[in-house]
């Protein structure tokens, strides 16, 4: 592949997904400047790995690089560790109290509060936040989410389910006056 062909292919495949790349990085880093750093590094990596891109889904390929770049960045910027996750990571196998079966509970009413919904999503541990962002904001299929996060489809299903349970529990808990 000539350099100019490569440049054209790289453009066709990655440029249309810049918004998606930034949106994912922004939700993962929770900071506009850090998100820009991560996206820029991800595009450089994507270019570096571009010869090995074989798939037909440029969006999940690029988003998987954004995600990996974020986790590398996180290791190197430990101040951004779990301290920002105000919802603690539940231990594997531990049942999350789930208000979903109780439609009269307050969490349903709080869905109309934009600030609370955002705060609850922002507070989720990143492994839950990322699947929700990919599903609800990017509208990716389970198969695509599996490709981005490098986990089996069955795990995508259970993780999304856990993420939503956590979100409901957090909304239930969040005080309406909390900032």
């Amino acid at each position: 592949m000539s350099d100019s062909t490569k440049a054209r292919r790289f453009e066709q495949i990655t440029a249309p997904h810049l918004d998606a790349a930034y949106n994912l990085a922004r939700w993962l880093t929770r900071d506009p400047h850090d998100a820009q750093d991560v996206v820029q590094e991800a595009y450089l990596r994507a270019l570096r790995y571009f010869d090995s891109f074989r798939g037909d889904n440029g969006k999940s390929w690029l988003l998987s690089i954004v995600r990996n770049t974020f986790y590398t960045w996180l290791e190197q910027n430990p101040r951004h560790d779990a301290a920002d996750n105000h919802i603690p990571l539940p231990a594997e196998g531990v049942e999350i109290a789930d208000p979903a079966g109780e439609p009269a509970e307050t969490w349903l009413a709080r869905l109309e509060d934009q600030r609370l919904v955002r705060a609850a999503l922002e507070g989720l541990p990143s492994e839950f936040r990322e699947v929700l962002v990919l599903r609800e904001l990017e509208d990716l299929s389970y198969k695509e989410i599996a490709a981005v996060t490098d986990i089996p489809i069955g795990t995508v299903m259970s993780r999304l389910s856990r993420a939503r349970r956590l979100l409901r529990a957090e909304l239930e808990k969040l005080d309406g006056g909390r900032h």
Binding site: E11, L18, Q40, M157
Partner: protein, 249 residues
């Protein structure tokens, strides 16, 4: 299928990710079980709330500019390596790609043919003295007018208090289908807004063609195009007002 079998599948059921057989089984159970029906409704409400309230962060122009500046071209590779705040492994030596950087990081206009069609529809609406099929500044008149004419109900809001009064609506034709066209005005300038159902979410992307400014985005299950001869800044302001949820009450 009973509750114990159905419950772990409800998320995937709502996400449309079950096989036809499983989906039929869950559906049968949900029809019979009020508790699971409530769970499905609650799950849909949660999804919808996240989609409506969680901000979709479109790439800012500063990032586009940075990529335009920093992404290596053959000649700027060395410079880019110096100025890029490196996190993780640096660029592999020997990566040489000549990127048509200026073109690459322009906002993508999407389908050029669609852009042309939107502009043509806008121009036609001004020329043919056929701006509005329903001329009304009342959103409660304009919205119902579309009922029965389209297989969806377009969101209609007057933005008079934001300086963009609603003038009416029109049935138009875009991309092979009938769509709702909403007409707004800023001083003497007409803004045509075309809206039709679409999934996903995308931040507004700006482009211009033949002297007209356009913005298009996807939000809340609808794809939107705004087109006008209005300047780009005011059109942005209009789209911002349109995208901001109406104040409660």
């Amino acid at each position: 299928m009973d509750c114990a079998q159905a419950k772990p599948l409800l998320d995937a059921y709502c996400d449309g990710e079950l096989s036809a057989g499983e989906a039929a089984g869950v559906e049968q159970h949900v029809r019979a079980c009020a508790k699971c029906r409530a769970r499905v409704e609650a799950q849909r409400a949660l999804s919808s709330a996240v989609r409506r309230h969680a901000t979709y962060h479109g790439a800012p122009d500063t990032l586009r500019a940075r990529l335009r500046r920093e992404l290596p071209t053959e000649t700027t590779l060395a410079g880019a390596r110096r100025s890029w705040r490196q996190i993780g492994a640096g660029l592999a030596a020997g990566v040489v790609a000549t990127l048509a950087a200026q073109v690459l990081w322009m906002r993508h206009a999407g389908d050029g043919a669609l852009t042309a069609e939107i502009v043509a529809d806008h121009v036609r609406s001004l020329q043919a003295n056929h701006l509005a099929d329903v001329a009304s500044t009342d959103q409660h008149t304009v919205k119902p007018w579309f009922a029965g004419k389209l297989d969806y109900s377009p969101p209609v809001r007057d933005l008079r208090s934001e300086g963009f009064p609603l003038e009416g609506g029109r049935l138009d034709h875009v991309d092979g289908r009938d769509v709702a066209a909403l007409i707004y005005r800023r001083h003497q300038h007409v803004i045509n807004v075309f809206v039709w159902p679409d999934t996903g979410a995308s931040a507004p992307a700006a482009l211009s063609r033949d002297g007209y400014n356009l913005l298009h985005w996807t939000q809340d299950g609808m794809h939107w195009w705004a087109v006008s001869e209005l300047n780009a800044a005011e059109l942005q302001e209009f789209v911002h007002a349109l995208r901001t949820p109406a104040p409660a009450g």
